[in-house]
């Protein structure tokens, strides 16, 4: 391609005619960029080619070509004048033909601006969602811990293997006892009973909430295990009913809507239940 330091005249001719392949013309272009001598020769060759070009058979310019050209440059010049006027006064007459090119040029920029706004909004939304997610994750973690603790409490209270001992004054013989824990506002009740007498087949103990006014409310059936222990955990109860007392009766296995005497265990609730 290069003869020693310079591009051969043959290759420069082909380069000037664009008759080299892209791969062939790239090194020529690179050399030309740095070689004034070859650039000068290329300019000479372009002059020679101009002569060849101008030696073609002459054709008259098509009718109207001149006017078409003048119209074109006039049309191009008009928007330019309009644009310069616009700078002086931003008020453009309504009937003034706005240059299509200027209008069209805004569209991509407006689209870009809109995209940027959308991106910013999305970014903001992503951030806020992330924050929310983090917050909820923390809450879930806290609730999981709390839930595990509650489950543990409940397990200890209800596990058959748990040892339940009621401590009393020395030398008092073991007597049936039950401890009720009641939260009226939630209608939540836990009962732990021990030393209960075993029941014959077809009988059950039933727990009653005795409200300050009104009939006793059934609060669950239970049968003691072999050691006489039993639990009632969160039976279905109406909320917000303060209890005056609790009682346990013996009922038939299906339970009863009203207590049947005698009351085997009872206890009055302290005045300030909650």
């Amino acid at each position: 391609m290069t003869d020693g330091r310079h591009i051969s005249q043959e290759d420069l001719v082909l380069y000037a005619m664009q008759a080299l392949s892209p791969e062939e013309s790239a090194p020529v272009r690179a050399h030309l960029a740095e070689c004034p001598a070859c650039r000068a020769e290329l300019a000479e060759l372009n002059g020679d080619l101009a002569l060849v070009a101008m030696s073609v058979e002459q054709h008259p310019v098509p009718a109207g070509a001149r006017q078409r050209f003048l119209n074109r440059i006039a049309a191009e010049a008009a928007p330019a004048q309009l644009a310069s006027k616009t700078i002086v006064s931003p008020v453009v007459p309504i009937d003034a033909p706005r240059p299509a090119r200027r209008v069209a040029a805004w569209i991509p920029w407006a689209a870009v601006a809109a995209m940027i706004l959308v991106c910013v909004a999305l970014e903001w939304r992503v951030n806020s969602l992330n924050t929310e997610l983090l917050l909820q994750s923390q809450q879930i973690a806290q609730q999981t811990v709390a839930s595990a603790r509650a489950r543990e409490v409940l397990d200890v209270l209800t596990a058959p293997a748990a040892q339940r001992v009621v401590l009393t004054a020395a030398k008092t013989p073991p007597a049936p006892t039950a401890r009720a824990i009641y939260l009226p506002s939630r209608g939540a009740l836990i009962l732990q009973a021990s030393n209960l007498a075993l029941l014959p087949e077809g009988k059950t103990y039933e727990l009653w909430v005795i409200p300050a006014s009104g009939a006793p409310i059934p609060a669950g059936l239970f049968r003691p295990d072999a050691s006489g222990s039993a639990s009632v955990i969160l039976p279905e109860l109406p909320k917000g009913v303060p209890a005056k007392a609790f009682g346990v009766t013996i009922e038939s296995a299906a339970g009863s809507a009203t207590p049947t005497a005698p009351i085997v265990l009872s206890g009055a609730a302290p005045a300030a239940g909650e």
Partner: protein, 230 residues
Amino acid sequence: MSVVATEFSVWNLALHLSCNTMGRPFLALVSEPISNPARSSARSDDEGGRASTRPSVADDKALLERVLARDQSAMAELFDRYSGMAYSVAMRVVKDAAQAEDVMQDVFFQVWQNPKAFISDRGSLGAWLAVVVRNRAIDVIRRRKPSEAVEDVVLAASTNVAAEVEHRTLIERVRNAMKDLPPEQRESVELAFFEGMTHAEIAEKKGEPLGTVKTRIRTALMSVRKAFKA
């Protein structure tokens, strides 16, 4: 013919001045034609009568500077000077009147939009336009995007053919030189220059080595150069 000879020597003088004293090649442009009988008669469209009213001393450089100042009449005058030549070159390549006019119009419109593409220190505007039109026309028949910016077309300042184009004497010389070329040389140049074939394509078409094609094209071009400088 004596008028031509006088003008030619004036042009040579201007060229010497520009090279020896100023070092500004485009000053060679000051020797422009002052009349245009061949073009005026050649142009057949309705604006023909305008030619006689053109300022007789205006030259391309001054016209281009007025174009730079958005003077539409100056651009019109440049169009009158060179549109016929530019159209003929485009026609030779694309062989279709509508496409040839498109190429010609586009090149002149580029001059209007960016007169500086030429103004700096190129050779004559006419020669430059001939090359730019040819290149753009080749782009059209090859269905490709413009392969180069018009600014990249640089002509030697010595190729001031504007004056001679008008009187056709030099063009006749070049034509005769082309005619006198060995047929295979002329064909190679024409295939490369007017048909836009690469030297590899010509070599394949003719079944000849690449080197032979290269040498032929160069030799043919040197013959044209010799005819011009003679």
